[in-house]
Amino acid sequence: MALTAHSGASRWILRLVSIAACLLVWQAAARLRLNLGVVTFANVPAPTDVLEAAIALAQSPKLLDHVTSSLGRVGMGYGIAAVVGIALGLAVGRSRRAEDVLLPPLEILRPIPAVAWIPLAVLMFPSSEASMIYITFIGALFPILLNTIHGVENVDPRLIASAQSLGGTRGAILREVILPGAAPSIVTGLAIGMGTSWFCLVTAEMISGQFGIGYYTWESYTLQNYPDIVVGMVLIGLLGMGSSVLLRAIGTRLTPWHSAAGARR
């Protein structure tokens, strides 16, 4: 027991030391304007500059507006993607006809990158908020959809057979067997989708700008404010990772039968 506790703490120490070391190298490289030929740090802002910019942003009255705008757009887009993705995923996973009807157009749309959607998004939707929500939606949709399909298709057919033999109707089986059976995959899809939704945020917020972390990052680029660009990137990364981790934690809570069985972190 004592051994495990010790190795837990020392693992954390190792992780922190690693991050600190990376920061030190970055600071040195930026300050020295290191030029390694293949890559150059001559114009890269140092961690200290980024920290300064981060503090300035933290003190800015606009930060709250930026964060809430972005959270709103990601939240809406993601929320709709979750509903649509799971619903379509259940249909496609269960019905061959649904698969033949729904999957081909979706597969064609899948590889289109968020940036390419901008002009159409602007033309199709009545408001720029809707256009932005569409882009975060399309970013989240496919991981959720595909993981749901995968989860549904991988539900043990014997479980379904047993449920049928116990008198289960098609609807009851969907609710009582398919959904819980696919739940672990769906949770994975939801966690990934949350991440991709955030990735698309910068692209989305190019559509119309006043508030939003993506917009803040974009504005910093226009103004050649490099430390601010890094702050924006880091902020998006943190929020994306954070919400993804949160989702996974919630998902694990809701699927207790799955995580413990053969779990190896």
Binding site: I118, V122, I207, Y215, W218, E219, L223, Q224
Partner: protein, 475 residues
């Protein structure tokens, strides 16, 4: 003896080979252009397409054995060019006053320096920037936009114009109007789908969007009376090391300017082919009596524009330091280029004329005298634009042209008040009792004219119909 002389000959040969090897260097001349921002054409697109750099780059003196590595990179914004300059990938860059001053500040922050070496094209009154609304919008002037949302490319010269215009209305830019950022590409789509109420933009979008039929221009930059221009910058260290190359670039720009002045239609078509901006819009800017004037001199108004831009950016808290205008704006190289090309810098500096139109009326044959009354028609499949002394002459000519089975590409008319060139199809007209037709950008301007001078306010179809009716019975 012989061996010694043979040895010294060999030594001499060897050393000259070494010296030759030393002087055979490659010099990069990398230019960042903005092809779609058509008023930078003389500093970018034209030079590139006509290979004018190759013509002017020095090949003597210390450049005798130099190999030039000429690189052209195209961008859609000045900020992107600045980024590449800071990263050392581009030497010359073209952009407007606002991004230009940000360029200066960015170089200083990186421990370097850039210099603004010339103006390329601009307007001392402010034309070139404009505000448009979607075609379906009922809005006819800026005053109707109070409380509405206006988008503008962030930190651009049109952003400056918008703030100036808002201030001139007596509004508070934070409260009375909502200004949001939107790039021209996105704004185009947004105007088409009626997603925004108004959009301010720089060359050529405030005219291009109306030309393409989904927007209407309701404000010309000249109404705010503040200069705007696009010009060229270069890294100062590069200029110190290769001043002759900088002069050569500027001479290429001067030649591009001359060629354009001589054959505006031809080069408008060239820009259309390469950049995708229609020739009719290019001619609007570059043709005689055009919306902006090509000008390679540092007029005090343009210097002032650079200064104003940095102050505005500081006020918006988008820039945290200023630059020394006197060292940033550099006249040395452009003056040398003028001299080398046999032109008079001081004379051009003093001249505020638009590109003159020396022509005869295509219908009546009379000399065209009053630039504020000029109208022009570009007939399809004709290489040259037809000029008319007055709008009514042009409208009458329309009838004849159509009877001949010809279609027109565009009709231009000069604004009676400001003298700016307008796209006829979107202009407002006043037709007096005597049949005299005057053109105006805004309906309210036409109404004001009609009030003082009499006459009927008409839109383009109305003006055509009226002129048509009056010529009935005349062959």
């Amino acid at each position: 003896m012989r061996r010694k002389s043979l040895f010294s000959v060999l030594l001499l040969a060897a050393s000259s080979v070494v010296t030759a090897a030393q002087s055979a260097e490659t010099v990069r001349v990398a230019v960042g252009t903005q092809d779609t921002t058509i008023n930078t054409a003389t500093g970018g697109l034209i030079i590139r397409e006509l290979k004018l750099l190759e013509k002017y780059l020095p090949k003597d003196g210390k450049y005798k054995d130099v190999t030039y590595d000429i690189q052209w990179r195209n961008f859609t914004t000045g900020a992107a060019i600045t980024n590449d300059q800071i990263a050392g990938k581009v030497d010359f860059g073209v952009m407007a006053d606002f991004p230009g001053s940000l360029n200066g500040v960015a170089h200083e922050k990186a421990g370097r320096k850039s210099i603004f070496i010339t103006v390329l094209q601009g307007s001392v009154k402010g034309s070139g920037n404009g505000i448009v609304v979607p075609s379906a919008s009922p809005v006819q002037s800026l005053s109707e936009l109070k409380g509405k949302t206006i988008s503008v490319p962030f930190a651009s010269t049109s952003h400056g114009l918008l703030l100036r215009a808002v201030k001139a209305q007596g509004w508070d830019p934070e409260k009375d109007v909502k200004i949001i950022a939107q790039t021209p590409e996105v704004a185009g789509s947004a105007l088409q789908s009626n997603q925004i109420e108004a959009h301010a933009d720089f060359v050529p979008f405030a005219e291009l969007f109306p030309w393409r039929g989904f927007a209407r221009k309701i404000y010309d930059g000249s109404q705010a009376n503040g200069p705007t221009f696009h010009g060229a910058l270069v890294d100062a260290a590069y200029a110190e090391k290769y001043p002759e190359i900088v002069v050569a670039y500027l001479q290429a720009a001067l030649e591009a300017d001359r060629l354009f002045a001589e054959e505006p239609e031809k080069y408008s078509e060239l820009i259309a082919k390469v950049a995708g901006v229609e020739a009719e819009v290019n001619y609007l800017f570059h043709g005689p009596l055009g919306l902006q004037t090509r000008d390679l001199t540092w007029k005090p108004e343009y210097r002032q524009a650079v200064g104003t831009s940095i102050e505005t950016l500081k006020l918006l808290k988008k820039a945290d330091q200023g630059i020394d205008i006197d060292t940033f704006v550099n006249e040395r190289f452009i003056k040398e280029a003028f001299k080398a090309s046999g032109l008079d810098y001081d004379a051009r500096l003093k001249s505020y004329d638009q590109l003159a139109l020396k022509a005869k009326d295509a219908a009546t044959g009379e000399e065209i005298k009053d630039p504020k009354r000029v109208a022009q028609i570009w007939v399809k499949d004709e290489p040259l634009v037809r000029h008319y002394a007055s709008a009514e002459n042009a409208l009458k000519a329309l009838k004849t042209l159509e009877a001949e089975g010809k279609t027109i590409r565009v009709l231009y008319a000069q604004d009676r008040n400001s003298g700016i060139k307008l796209l006829g199809a979107q202009a407002w007209f006043v037709r007096s009792e005597s049949g005299e037709v005057s053109a105006f950008l805004l309906k309210e301007q036409a109404e004001a004219w009609a009030k003082t001078n009499g006459g009927k306010v008409l839109d383009y179809p109305g003006a055509r119909a009226a002129v048509l009716a009056s010529t009935k019975g005349h062959p």
